[in-house]
């Protein structure tokens, strides 16, 4: 160890001793060849002694120059990888200029960022002489507020020695209104007030956003919808989302209009009726379509059947609703219906076995009958999501790395747009139904943008067509470009997206002249007892095939 390294080690241990929240290590000026790796080693050497103290590695988060920004990101990648991606080593983004574009700061959302230090140098003066942020910097700061990334003000000017400070001459700042509670003489007061103003401008969290807050970046293990029976509270959560049932009501209404001649009686079967929300939606659709219907409700969960039977009496459904307890794939019911309604979709469309269940239930359809949903398509997108990857790795086993999770994305950056992988249609009239699927998806250099980023895995979404016919087309989607909205314009919230992790994060290096690609493979596989996915990346580097034979994760049939 040389003198600098010894000094850094001493400072880190001191920070740990006094219980500092974070020790800031400067990666903006590690001079000489190999400086970043050497600094990383000193961090690693002392990290176990820093039980309560985080390490914040200061990098230039926005310098106003693409090459400098890329260099800063690359140095963070070096530090993070050399430290073995330790979860208490963070980037501290030092912003000394307006970001040159959205992708140049958004990529940092997917990294392990401790805080954003905003230099007074990043500010400009407005017409009245007050310090304000340029537009792209405003967007960045607002986004950091939304994502709960701490913003700091600093007068450090980014000079290599790490100590030089901006001079803020008293004459530089506009008039002082001597507000109470703020030290009016403090040279940074106006900068601080501007940030407060920006913070106040961030739209307040909706009730729904507040309800979802605890789920942000929280990995949920996939449901086992066939093997387990849902609890009442889970139904409660599902039923809360008005937007979903509005879509279903509209889809059934259109289907009835197209399939049932005026004056005739139509028939609807709800498979997986649960506590009855789709029965209700179907009855409402019947009224609005001016078609009388009989509803058959099939439900395998005996506890939910009790609630359904209670509802028949309570809501006066009488003989309009008939209940069939049992598994839709096997239960006996001598009926043929016009419309088969189900809400079996998972975040990735088919991941909760909708194809297998509906294949089993389609025997109840008339030859002219339709399924609601009619079809659903699955999408994937490459994402930077250090926080999610850290969480996956913290389980310390291969099983967890080879599991896709349902998760409310928060500190997640989309490296490229979602692409379609496959589709299912119902009813499936193929002579031999094959619900296995395979897809290879590629994002070209052009689709990956200009800024380098880190690939931690893939986001997964569905986009479903509930019904498409002469009377109308009704969709239900969590695809970011096409997300179904509720009556008051809020996003439908019944489904969070899914996250397919990859074992080793990959640096998507956009600095060189050679083209970079991301290539992703995914398989849907089914045997007599279970369904599972297998996946891998093949570009820019070949990974191992995750979850072969469903060794780590599967959904029981």
């Amino acid at each position: 160890m040389n003198g600098n390294e010894r000094a850094l080690a001493r400072e880190l241990r001191w920070a740990g001793h006094v219980g500092a929240h974070a020790a800031i290590v400067d990666a903006t000026s590690n001079e000489g060849e190999g400086g970043d790796v050497r600094v990383a080693r000193v961090i690693l050497m002392n990290i176990d002694a820093l039980t309560h103290t985080k390490v914040w590695v200061r990098v230039l988060g926005a310098s106003g120059d693409a090459a400098t920004d890329e260099d800063a990101h690359a140095r963070w990648r070096t530090t993070d990888e050399a430290c073995g991606r330790r979860s208490n080593v963070y980037a501290l983004l030092h912003v000394v200029a307006a970001p040159i574009g959205r992708e140049w700061w958004e990529r940092w959302i997917g990294e392990r960022v401790g805080a954003c230090a905003l230099s007074v140098r990043a500010f400009v003066k407005n017409a009245r002489g007050f310090p304000v942020l340029p537009k792209e910097a405003q967007a960045m700061v607002r986004d950091m507020f939304r994502r709960n990334i701490q913003i700091m003000l600093t007068d450090w000017n980014g000079a290599p020695d790490g100590c030089a400070r901006e001079t803020i001459a008293p004459g530089d700042v506009a008039g002082d209104e001597g507000r109470v509670g703020v030290d009016s003489a403090h040279p940074m007061r106006l900068y601080w007030e501007y940030l407060v103003y920006l913070f106040r401008g961030v739209e307040p969290a909706s009730e729904q956003a507040l309800a979802e807050a605890p789920y942000r970046d929280y990995l949920q293990a996939p449901l086992q919808p066939l093997m387990d029976n849902l609890e009442s509270v889970t139904y409660e959560t599902f039923e809360k989302d008005a937007s979903k049932y509005i879509q279903y009501e509209e889809a059934v209404r259109c289907a009835l209009l197209d399939l049932v001649p005026e004056g005739d009686e139509g028939s609807v079967m709800v498979v997986g009726a649960g506590r009855g929300p789709l029965v209700r939606a179907s009855l409402r659709a019947s009224e609005r379509a001016n078609r009388n219907i009989k509803v058959c409700a099939v439900e395998k969960n005996p506890n939910a059947v009790v609630t359904l039977q209670h509802l028949v009496a309570k809501e006066g459904w009488g003989d309009r609703v008939q209940i069939f307890p049992g598994d839709m794939r096997t239960c006996a019911a001598d009926v043929r219906v016009d419309v088969l309604v189900s809400e079996l979709l998972g975040s990735f469309g088919d991941n909760e076995l909708s194809p297998e269940c509906l294949d089993g239930a389609q025997r109840f359809l008339k030859p002219t009958g339709v399924s609601v949903p009619q079809s659903y398509e699955s999408f994937v997108a490459p994402i930077a999501a250090a926080k999610l990857h850290d969480a996956v790795v913290s389980y310390k086993d291969l099983k967890s790395i080879e599991t896709p999770y349902v998760v409310k994305f928060h500190r997640v950056h989309h490296i490229a747009e979602p692409k379609s992988v496959w589709e299912f249609e119902h009813p499936n009239n193929a002579a031999r139904i094959d619900n296995e699927r395979y897809a290879r998806v590629e994002w070209s250099s052009e689709e990956l943008g200009s800024a380098s980023s880190t690939l931690h895995g893939f986001a997964a979404y569905f986009d479903a067509t509930l019904y498409d016919g002469p009377a109308g087309c009704v969709r239900c989607s969590i695809h970011p470009h096409n997300h179904t909205l509720g009556p008051t314009g809020e996003l439908m919230f019944s489904w969070f997206p899914m996250f397919f992790p990859i074992q080793t994060p990959v640096y998507i290096d956009r600095r060189g002249a050679s083209p970079t690609k991301i290539e992703f493979y995914i398989w849907r596989r089914v045997d007599a007892h279970k369904m599972w996915y297998e996946w891998t990346i093949a570009k820019p580097v070949q990974g191992h095939i995750h979850n072969p034979n469903g060794r780590s994760y599967w959904i029981g049939l």
Copy 2:
């Protein structure tokens, strides 16, 4: 799964059922995008059912064309990585032409190769019309024989359908001598006879090579020379190597000539005398230099001391040899000697604590005294060594990945030349002795050659100067370019090299236009109780720093 995938799965399971030695899977003609990954998935899907059957993935090991060779190697990398580097999935090298150069086939030595299938197409006719191999193919085949890689003859001609065969018309081959035991009518007989001829041309293994055979590619955990006492059989092994003691004798002879005036009595201290080989060498040196000497023998192992005391009587050393039981760093002995002789070097020079021990023993030297060895330098080289890496990974823990091993290299390919990392000199007269070291070593694109390969870790060597003075310079080295030879020209065998693994093998891809570098960092660290190394790669990709704070491996002081 499509029809081809189903057919392949069926064949693999059949091979397993009949207990075939290996099932050959064709990766020379996986048509369509993503074919290699899809084939890998089918392999992976069935691999656990193949308990006794290996999978041999057929690739074009030598096609006569650089781009085709590179493509074949890249496809093998894809298959191997997609399969998660499973140890029962091998490359089967299909050779249809003379290799275009040494590095184009040598890189395969470092991959997991099951066999080499030599196509009759790779042969040419000599003047008498007999099939022979071109020179580079001969070199390759001879090397494969030496490394125990199975050679097969095949008339498959490399055509994409995997079945087309070369036509070997009877008229194509020269006269038939009807030898007994060989089917003289077989069209491949002459090819086979030529291979037998090549095999016979391979120099027979020396006695030493035979003795070393069980150690080939066998990972030996590092010794704990200070914490443990060696067993007699270990001394026995060490003492077998005449070449080493010839070097020591010569070094001591030169030192005595330079330091002890004719007629004076010299003094030699052997520290770590063991069962006395260096005492013997010193006495022989004394005779040859015509200088009388007194020898002090320091030894901490009480069991070895018994042998030493016995030797004093048995060999009639009388008062010429005095024994000091104890640790050279602490034992009491009121002597000052001309020459301090030790054999504490490890494969990497300093890895068995020679610096720390000699620093402790140098108080016994006169101000004019010298140490034998005087200095030693450590070297590292990037290597492809799938077999070693597989062995490291088979331990299934981080500890094993972060340990350097002593190993007799066999299926190892040097990707580039060794480079120096650091040096130690004795005696060390610095006011404050610092035996910590740091080195950053880089191999440029030019130094990495033209053929792509796989980096599994680093080979480590030492090159020592036992003595350098007016009377002569005596070296002792296992550096491949400078390996000390014994009296009959055989390699000194006391030290096998070391292997520093890296956690994730890296594809050194030489296909693109952009330059590729390998950058390696290594630290030697010492605290009050132990010495250890830390290491990482930083290019072409950043790895984690291995063994921080000696968490996985250390040598006790």
